[in-house]
Amino acid sequence: MITAAVQEREHYLNASYGIKSWLLTKDHKRIGLLYLATITLFFFLGGAFATLIRVEPLTPQGGLVSSETYNKLFTMHGVAMIFFFLIPSIPATLGNFFLPMMIGARDLAFPRINLLSWYLLVVGGLFALFAMLAGGVDTGWTFYTPYSTTYSNSWVIATALGIFVAGFSSILTGLNFIVTIHRMRAPGMTWFRLPLFVWSMYGTSLIQVLGTPVLAVTIVLLFCERVFQIGIFNPALGGDPVLFQHLFWFYSHPAVYIMILPAMGVISELVSTFSRKPVFGYKFVAFSSMAIAVLGFLVWGHHLFVSTQSVYAGMVFSFLSYFVAIPSAIKVFNWTATLYKGSISYATPMLYAFGFIGLFTIGGLTGLFVASLGIDVHVTDTYFVVAHFHYIMVGGTIMAYLGGVHYWWPKMTGRMYPEIWARLSALIIFLGFNLTFFPQFILGYMGMPRRYHVYPPEFQVLHVLSTAGASVLAVGYAMPMVYFIWSLRYGKLAPANPWGATGLEWKTASPPPLQNFDETPVMTHEAYDYSTVIEEVIEVG
């Protein structure tokens, strides 16, 4: 038990004990940890599916599992990772824990709703787990009709209901954050003094509130057709199968930004703290988050370039997709410029941040390929797309998530993790990731379709490389799990501000008191003003 060993003073972990004090807590910090435990479970579940998905293509004939099982594995990998890990990941854990602290608040605006949103995720997760244990689902995480409504003989409804319920968790979290950011900022915390993480959470929350209901509607329609045979998507019942794709991607493309915007927010914090400089072009980075949140709603049709959507619609969606690429590029350039003449530390969170910028750059640039109509016709539904979105979702979001967890771990637990092991994990993950997914770009351009259980033998070498990378990656992901748990008991005690960071969350003890701050903080300077942190100054450059 961490709490027993830490200091005598009271904090949020030792203020009360017992299972009830956790399951009925209204403390945003404890709820953040509940989320952390929940999504970690789904991360390793999704990871187990991923392992099997990668081991199978070692041979082209597909000897390890049957086609039916393989299809269920990639479906459940997607469902677990997207709906129960990536979407809640940074907002529900780090956001829940630190958003109130960063703006100097005691809690979120609606603590009870915050607890409710965790329960909704758990209930949704139980539906999905039930579906997986009962026999699985084989539609792909995209649930394309009419396969999902008419032809699949698997647990479509249970899974879809799980996603439906978990969606309300996302909506309520977004709502809670928006109100909190508007109403609960400490004195002096003006909009342009907000840490950039808060700006990115604001953009994310807008998407969660505006986009997720469309997913709910889509699932209800899918339910109506599958259960009551009401013709909506199946042409045999008078429906239109492509309509489903429009509805699905109207949510699921913005959902990509639910997954990546918070990661960008984390990176802004890390790059600033570990180069000890304000983020270059603060307002550009802040507004680019908002631009991404808005433009993200206008590009869903780029998933439908070969779906029989009209040629002219395809052109409009391609054009708009390039617009949404620009704010992402602006962020990358500004992060890089922040390093210029900085005081750059190689602490673990910064290594993750470097990894993020590199992998996100490649993920973003390959996004330009798939946004280009001529290229996308060839590479859509191939491994090229798989590689592209894993560079964003895994190379981007998970790198940032892990960077953020390392960065804030001392604050959350009051303990330091072992630095050497942590740096090693960042390096292993970076190398393993590239070995796993870079060959998939080549596979995709060669023409290897995604979701193939059996494949022509000429693709085998690249598949073997990718699988080799995945085993390195698995080691990289297992390491933090081990040393984080180790650190809870054996880690060095963390000071209030181990990194010399400027955010308000570092102005209080580690771990924080139950009310976050002993007295309400007052923000008296711009964000990232390091002169307030360091007394003795030696200038560089």
Partner: protein, 317 residues
Amino acid sequence: MGRLPLFPEQASTFAPDVDHLLYYLLAVSVFFTVLIFGAIFYFAIRYRRRSDQELPHVQHGGMVLEILWTVIPFGLTMVMFTWGAKIYFDESRPPVDAVQINVVAKQWMWKLQHMEGKREINELHIPLGRAIRLTMTSEDVIHSFFVPAFRTKQDVVPGKYSTTWFQPTKAGKYHLFCAEYCGTKHSGMIGWIYVMEPQDYANWMRGGATGASLADEGAKLFQDLACGNCHKADNSGRCPSLVGVFGSTVKLSSGGTVKADEAYIRESILQPNAKIVFGYQPVMPTFQGLVTEEGVLQLVEYIKSLGAKPAAAEGAH
């Protein structure tokens, strides 16, 4: 195992177009990747923290930089957009003299039929140097017709016709994949495209079992389903004559007009009440379930063939 292939074959007129665009994208990507990675490595080493008390100078403003790194990438992406859109537009416009082939997809096979009547399953033989136009539909779920060597892909959607086209430039044998996940044996829904020298193709076409032409098959079906009882060639029936209808503009009782293309003919057979021709009553029963997708395609072909001929084509049967 053993070979490490890095680039797909180029076997259609689109393939070099797409690959040239790829080279442009690769050049831009390599440039920015090197720029970002290089800058990060250089800054990280040059400005590494030497003492815990360091406090760097704060740089203010960077409006020129911000504008530069907004405008330059935007300009480069607009080239990607325009170039990609040009290829996409070309891919959607088959030449009029293209060889027509019908494709019906189902879990988990490709059924292909030539106008001359030859049928193939999971194999398609086509002549080198001719444009090939595919009219495709699905009997069940969504599939996707993907030939990597041609750089073309088009979803095959139940309930509607989709089309794609390509012009092979190299004789040989190329993969055909289903690219849209379609259920258990999705990865088994593959086949081969055989691109043949025109002479070989002609020989192949003559050999083996050759059924009646598609239009003749359609005519027979037209007869079997007793379509001619109402659709009389001389326009004396309860339903409009189909002679010369294909490709024409049809006036509807709802007031609008519709171009009589494949999709319209298909809809009129399967959902006859969706669009009623001006001056006629909605008396036709649906043929949904009574005629297969292949049958519908044959009927379409027959109706097309009526366009060229003078009236009274039905009388021949």
